[in-house]
């Protein structure tokens, strides 16, 4: 790639003052600094998720057993496929964004509008996918689960609700289950007070991590939309460069990057 950063300039000249030693505009550098701080926030969130996952390793729910549904397919068993689709949507919208940046480097306005427009569409697709996933998660399953008197979540071993499986995986017989069931409450779905999928922290982290990321996606879509309008109005063409697209592109790729980590550390591990 051409540009100032690929020129060979002696160190003494680079650091002698009067120019950026990194050969980037201040806007791009500050976008990077913002992304570092944001990455630390997400890093902290995902590390604390790892903390509780290890602390409660024996009772932490397995995500491939929680996320098994797909829209318009009814009661199917398609583990993680929907999350994989969401990941794919975000990757594709990241690709359209990098193509918009590339077109900007060639000062090709119509191509920038095309690719940036597709990126906005991809962002909306991701947001609506997340709305579906949240509503499904909050609504819960038909069968529900059981909250025992000590607060632990147990799952039904059979459709007839006679026997239960404890959070640590121990399956009890109907006779052992009966006194526990008598003192327990049925729970359906998840919110910040109850969680049928397992320990309460699992739901709290789901809402906080995917919610915080989803809010980033939402702001990204809004910023992309504003810059798309600016590009259509010819602001970048007049300035002689498309760095605006490059900077919003950095943010958008970062959102994709975070999802790659959320996908692994929340859904897969």
């Amino acid at each position: 790639m051409s540009g100032e950063a690929s020129k060979t300039i002696p160190t003494s000249e680079l650091w002698a003052g009067g120019r950026s030693p990194f050969s980037v505009s201040y806007g791009k550098m500050y976008m990077w600094f913002f992304l570092i701080s944001d990455a630390l926030t997400f890093g902290g969130l995902l590390t604390s998720l790892g903390f509780y996952k290890h602390k409660y390793a024996d009772i932490w729910p397995a995500s491939e057993k929680v996320f098994v549904h797909f829209p318009f397919c009814g009661e199917t068993h398609l583990p993680l496929l929907y999350v994989a689709l969401m990941t794919f949507i975000l990757i594709v919208s990241s690709v359209t964004m990098v193509l918009a940046v590339e077109a900007g480097h060639r000062m090709n306005r119509s191509k920038v509008i095309f690719w940036l427009g597709l990126t906005v569409v991809g962002g909306f697709f991701f947001l609506f996918s997340q709305v579906w996933e949240w509503s499904h998660y909050i609504h819960g399953s038909e069968l529900g689960a059981l909250q025992l008197s000590d607060g632990q979540i147990a799952h039904w071993a059979d459709e007839g609700k006679h026997a239960i499986i404890l959070a640590n995986g121990t399956a009890l017989g109907a006779q052992e289950s009966a006194p526990l069931i008598a003192n327990a409450a049925e729970v359906f779905g998840a919110n910040l007070h109850v969680n049928e999928y397992g320990t309460q922290l699992y739901a709290n982290f789901f809402f906080f991590v995917t919610g915080f990321h989803g809010f980033h996606v939402f702001s990204g879509v809004v910023i992309n939309l504003i810059i798309l309008i600016m590009v259509i109005k010819g602001v970048c063409q007049k300035r002689g460069h498309y760095e605006l697209v490059e900077k919003t592109g950095l943010y958008w790729h970062f959102v994709d990057l975070v999802w790659v980590f959320v996908f692994t550390f929340y859904y897969l591990l």
Binding site: G3, V24, I36, Y52, H54, S94, E102, V260
Partner: protein, 123 residues
Amino acid sequence: MERDDIIEYSLDAHHSEEEGKALRKKIVFVTILLATVTAIEVLLGVWWSSLHLPWTMVKLGFIGMTLLKAGYIVLVFMHLGDERKSLKWAILGPYMLFISYLIFICLTEAMKLYDLRHLFGWL
């Protein structure tokens, strides 16, 4: 008033049609790679237990694949690989230092707490 103390680096951020073609080829390659790795991750996540693979190995595989994807996104899509080395390491160095310490300290504590939970029978 025109300022002569700021070099407009962005004015230099252009490339020719040929360079664009090569870049697009690279983008297509990375896209296919990212999609393939994601597909492998999902298949492994669904089937690892029925394939009788040890969980530690699967876990390290997931982390390795995630870092591979992250590397391609940051270095190619975010063009950090094309920036000056000083900028690249000013961004990556401190972050890696802090985050690896945080991960180390949190997971060590968490595993200790796991043992204590079982030792004293806490929930």
